[in-house]
Amino acid sequence: MFADLSFHIEQGQWVTIVGPNGSGKSTLTKLMNGLLAPQSGTIQIGGVTLDSHTVSDIRGLVGYLFQNPDNQFIAATVQDDMAFGMENRCLPRAEMQQRIDQVSVELGIQDWLHRHPSSLSGGQKQRVALAGLLVLDPEVMIWDEATSMLDEQARRECMTHIRQLRAGRGFTIVSVTHDAEEIMASDRVLVVKGGQLAADLSPMELFAREELMEECRLRPPFAVELSLELRRRGIEMDICRDEEELVNALWPSCPVKN
């Protein structure tokens, strides 16, 4: 699947993996927590080489959020699902309860603890899945198109939570996504194509590379797209990240009416 693929992610970095469909983005992330095993080459997480002996320790460091919120909900109530990972690590009951209380308040899900997953919406389920990872206190979060099945509002909420959590806990994030705003929020983008690393750049650099964007079937956020288009038509301006910057950049160049 991959040939000659090598990269290093700094602690605390938010890295987005993009690429055309079938380029192996999910495979790559699944290699990172031992869900799949490499045929050759090595994977190191936190200085530890991933192999059959270390895989359970490494899964303790790496939380993995899957795409489909329905298929990662294991127990029949929210509370039991949050406990699932901790039960597997044999944590004492008092500590489980304490972590569940803390994380459920943090994510605002304390009122749902006794509900069955089928009574929750997709966004709510994804938030519970996130809670189930946070109680394990991971250092790395893998995010495999985790917002792609959510509606716009739920996606935004999810992103807000992630930003806040990252500011508070400072974990490393690896996310696979097609969403421009999610890419924009990250520090660095890895473009995977044909089993190789096609590019390693910043989100803004990626948005400016039309041929890469085209190949990965990505579209830049509206503000970026507009400023790129205006530049192409000869208007001198910086590339803007959001609408506020865009307004500020365009305002001075508007002709003043008298």
Binding site: K30, N33, L35, S56, R59, G60, V62, G63, Y64, F66, N68, D70, N71, Q72, F73, I74, A75, A76, T77, Q79, D80, A83, F84, G85, M86, E87, N88, R89, C90, L91, P92, R93, M96, Q97, I100, H116, P117, S118, S119, G132, L133, L136
Partner: protein, 265 residues
């Protein structure tokens, strides 16, 4: 939608009685003792005594008796045939009347009645287990009660994990079925308009996408479980704890005594 919300709760009937608060392990073991008692009871006196005790417990569970009656409904035809067979084929005592070459005797009728009586007793009383225990509690109790099976190489943890997952996914799969039915209806194949045979065929076409979906789901689920540290048969703790109280011991002792009595008498 109604269907799935009903399933979530299993057969659990909400009420706050002492039976609801009993430890599921006590209830499970007591049911086994009750089963043995009913089977070993022979005389009318014994059966009556057991019935009175069972009735008292049923009444005190805070669930209407009709509910228990309804639980036995699916078995009524079976009970009827059981009675018929005993009445027609069992000989002894005085012959009451003849139908063709069959002799209906007092002995046969009596045996038939007591067989039906026992079955009714068993079905109604064991319903108390599922009526007063939530599926999650029941599952925990089951895991504890089955623990000795580890000695012969069977893993109760695997079974209860299967039950947990079933409890979690049955409503989801029903929802999916509902969605597929609606999708088919929106394309003009409404199951409600069809004749019985066509309905059956339609349900078959429903099975394929549901089974395929379930397999895909299973694969995702395995990865989600593994990435959260689940290893088959490795020891794990549990968030939920069962509390054994004195009333549980008394409950169990009561059933033990009942069994001993029917055995001795």
């Amino acid at each position: 939608m109604m269907k799935s919300s009903k399933l979530v709760m299993g057969r659990y009937v909400e009420a706050s009685s002492w039976v609801h608060r009993l430890d599921p392990r006590a209830k499970l073991v007591a049911m086994l003792l009750f089963l043995a008692t009913v089977i070993s009871a022979h005389s009318i006196v014994e059966l009556s005594t057991i019935s009175v005790i069972a009735l008292l417990i049923l009444v005190s569970s805070g669930i209407p008796l009709s509910r228990y009656g309804r639980a036995s409904k699916p078995l009524w035809p079976l009970m009827f045939f059981m009675f018929l067979f005993y009445a027609l084929f069992e000989q002894g005592g005085s012959v009451w009347f003849e139908i063709g070459s069959f002799h209906v005797s007092s002995e046969g009728v009596l045996l038939g009645l007591s067989a039906v009586w026992r079955m009714l007793l068993l079905v109604c009383f064991t319903s108390i287990l599922t009526f007063t225990t939530t599926p999650i509690e029941l599952n925990l109790g089951l895991e504890a009660v089955l623990k000795p099976l580890k000695l012969i190489g069977v893993s109760p943890q695997q079974w209860t994990m299967m039950i947990t997952i079933a409890l979690r996914f049955i409503p989801t799969i029903f929802e999916e079925a509902d969605r597929i039915l609606k999708a088919q209806a929106s394309r003009g194949a409404d199951i409600n308009d069809l004749k019985l045979a066509a309905k059956g065929k339609m349900l078959l076409t429903l099975l394929v996408p549901i089974i395929v979906g379930a397999f895909r789901r299973a694969e995702d689920l395995v990865q989600a479980m593994e990435s959260r540290g689940y290893v088959l048969d490795r020891a794990r703790t549990s968030l939920r704890m069962l509390k054994w109280r004195r009333v549980d011991s008394l409950f169990l002792i009561g059933f033990g005594v009942m069994l001993v009595f029917t055995f001795v008498m």
